[in-house]
């Protein structure tokens, strides 16, 4: 099940402290940014002051806009290009600075010297008033503290079982474990202290103002093990023969059906007549499905992909 990625409630400081990227190996896999605060983010929701947008790039057929979002913890670039037409139109529409909420995907660009540049590719904007901003900060602060607590506990005792964090999303526990592992020396009490500015904005004792330029975080990074996909052994002659029997019978059933699909149960029955057990047939179906030869768009109904 490819669930939609939730928009992690976060702040500029967390994004700027995140240096670890996780790329999926499968086709169209999502990319995640792992933060020392215990988030494994693909999509984020941020709020703050957006500066005037500027266009970058010279090609007028490939418009690309950039702006900066400032929150009580720091600054983060926000971009929108031709692939986000609605976000781009909304970004261009307001020339001056404004208070806004941004939903978008995190993007990590690593320069030649290895420096990481994090930005957010906007999918949606909304201009908001100060009360709404403080509401969003209240959520984001509570969730950030929850996540920091989780990582801190796991740094203290990495063997703690998942059920010790009852009520926390499974995705958070997983992210916290990885975060504890990959950022062993991150200054988490320092991150927590920096969130005081957010608390004061929620309380109304601090104005929503751009902060002084944040100090670069000192973080030691343990590089991720490169994940190698398991080697695929070439199918044997016997497996090839089974595959061709499978596909021949599939084609027969498809030809004789009114809707262009072969019934899985019928196919398994026919294969049994050819001496193939239902387990073997299922395994074969899995393999052919993975290889993209056969598909099952309706449960129990098969066709050639």
């Amino acid at each position: 099940m490819a669930l939609r990625e939730p928009a992690w409630r976060t702040f500029a400081a967390e994004l700027n402290a995140a240096l670890q990227e996780e790329r999926g190996t499968t086709e169209r896999a999502a990319t995640y940014l792992l933060s020392p605060y215990g988030a494994r983010m693909n999509r984020v929701l941020l709020a703050g002051t957006l500066s005037s947008p500027e266009t970058i790039g010279k090609d007028p057929s490939q418009p690309f806009w950039r702006t900066r979002l400032v929150d009580p913890t720091g600054t983060i670039p926000v971009t929108a290009g031709a692939f986000q037409p609605r976000a781009m139109a909304q970004l261009q529409a307001v020339p001056g600075p404004r208070t806004a909420m941004v939903v978008g995907k995190v993007h990590l660009y690593r320069g030649n010297d290895g420096t990481a540049y994090i930005s957010v590719r906007a999918e949606g904007f909304r201009t908001i008033d100060e009360a709404t901003l403080r509401g969003i900060y209240a959520d984001a602060l509570a969730q950030s503290l929850d996540r920091l607590d989780l990582v801190q506990k796991l740094v203290g005792d990495p063997t703690l079982a998942d059920d010790r964090f009852d009520g926390r999303p499974a995705a958070w526990i997983r992210a916290a474990r990885e975060s504890a592992l990959r950022y062993p020396t991150a200054d988490r009490p320092g991150y927590r202290a920096a969130l005081r500015a957010v608390l004061e904005v929620v309380e109304g004792t601090r104005a929503v103002l751009p902060p002084a330029s944040p100090a670069a975080a000192e973080v030691r990074v343990v590089p991720a093990e490169p994940s190698i996909p398991p080697p695929r052994t070439a199918p044997s002659a016997e497996e090839r023969a089974q595959e061709s029997t499978f596909l021949d019978l599939l084609d027969e059933l498809v030809d004789n059906s009114s809707d262009g699909y072969a019934d899985l149960k019928e196919l398994v029955q026919r294969l049994a007549e050819h001496g193939m057990s239902s387990e073997m047939a299922e395994a074969l179906l899995d393999r052919l499905g993975e290889e993209g030869v056969v598909e099952e768009p309706i449960v129990g109904r098969l066709r050639r992909a």
Binding site: L3, R4, L45, M101, V103, G124, G135, L199, V202, L249
Partner: protein, 392 residues
């Protein structure tokens, strides 16, 4: 069916005890659902009829296939059969039965079914009922119930749909027999079974089910069985949906098709190219809808919002949307305008939540804009901040 009525012979197996194997068995069961189908042999194109459906004897339900069934006899929902020399197979870890030319099938009566009411079957709680189950008793309170008319084949039937609760969870039910259920009463149910409907368990009651009123004091109050506070979307995702949930979050996206849509005047299905998939060429009726993605930072849910809620969130009525379309004939402008208006809104919604391949779908009974009590949240966060500082 075969000529001589068979007597109650030894060796009769209850459906819950069926195991796949070479030994043919003897069963007595009631047809729960049945469909007449045909298999075409690819080799010579010969057609072979069969019946496929579900059998139940009150202890369990199993799928059945009946090859070359009698043509002139009515085998339908409710028919009770006695079958000897039945082959048992296993499919996806569940036993299935198949009637071949070797199987002797004869009509039977309710008295021939295994006696399974009262003390014979165990009590289950709602949280224990997952997937296909049968042969249990359940004590629960009716949280809501309403009649509904459905078309089954050529026939109009009334079904009573609702929700039961027992403190361990909520369970949707649909009753094909009228037990005169009313909200808030406490009941004990035997002879019902659980099937999966849109990825959620659903309790089905029919003529064979037994419903008894029990002391309502033994169950949690109806108020406590209904959700009132929003629950985390991550928890809802982990639970695979809910019969009745309250959720709260920020709208992070508007998914197509949203905005102005055209529906078949008969069945309300969306019309594509002037064609309804059921009713052919039709004059589509204009309607408004919005598919919103609600996000609470932990998980997401897609909400399918109908016309009244779309109008109120957008601030544009259907007639105004049509008028805008006449002025600038580009429907995507309408969708963009709707997106600008709804993305970023904080909403609270309640309704039924079903899972699918892309996550959860909520069919809202109510959708409302909500604000945040910022001073209260600030006090909460301050207390937590001070508490954390004191902690080691």
């Amino acid at each position: 069916m075969v000529e001589a009525p068979l007597t109650n012979e030894p060796g009769e197996v209850r459906l819950k005890d069926l195991r796949a194997g070479d030994v043919p068995v003897h069963i007595v069961a009631r047809v729960v659902s049945v469909e007449r189908r045909e298999y075409t042999r690819p080799a010579d194109g010969r057609r072979r009829p069969f019946l496929a459906g579900l059998l139940s004897d009150g202890t369990a339900s199993v799928r059945f296939t009946w090859w070359d069934p009698p043509l002139n006899e009515e085998i339908g929902r409710g028919t009770i059969l006695r079958a000897q020399n039945v082959q048992v197979r296993e499919y996806q870890g569940r036993p299935e039965v198949s009637f071949s030319f070797r199987t002797r099938v004869a009509p039977a009566g309710p008295a021939d079914l295994p006696k399974v009411d009262s003390s014979d079957v165990p009590f289950r709680t709602i949280s224990e009922l997952r997937g296909r189950s049968e042969g249990f008793r359940l004590e629960a309170r009716v949280v809501r119930v309403a009649p509904k008319t459905v078309t089954v084949g050529a026939e109009q039937r009334q079904v009573h749909e609702g929700i039961l609760g027992d403190g361990t969870g909520l369970l949707a039910f649909s009753s094909w027999s009228d037990f005169h259920l009313t909200p808030n009463e406490a009941i004990r149910i035997a002879g019902a079974y659980v099937r999966t409907f849109r990825g959620r368990p659903q309790l089905v009651l029919d003529e064979a089910s037994i419903v008894a009123r029990i002391d309502p004091g033994r169950l949690p109050s109806i108020e406590s069985l209904q959700p009132s506070e929003p629950q985390s979307l991550a928890k809802l995702e982990a639970a695979g949906g809910s019969e009745w949930a309250v959720v709260e979050g920020i709208v992070v996206a508007l998914l197509p098709p949203s905005g102005l849509v055209y529906r078949c005047p008969t069945c309300q299905r969306p019309v594509a190219g002037g064609l309804c998939t059921e009713h052919g060429s039709v004059q589509g009726m204009a309607d408004l809808r919005a598919r919103l993605v609600l996000d609470d930072g932990r998980g997401t849910v897609t909400m399918n919002v109908g016309r009244p809620a779309t109008e109120s969130l957008w601030g544009v009525t259907l007639n105004e949307a049509l008028e805008r379309l006449r002025r600038s004939p580009d429907p995507s402008l309408l969708e963009s305008s709707l997106a600008e208006e709804v993305v970023g809104l904080r909403l609270r919604a309640r309704g039924r939540v079903f899972p699918d391949d892309f996550g959860l779908n909520l069919y809202p009974e109510s959708v409302e804009r909500v604000g945040v009590d910022v001073p209260a949240r600030a006090r909460e966060l301050r207390a937590r901040w001070e508490g954390d500082r004191g902690a080691p």
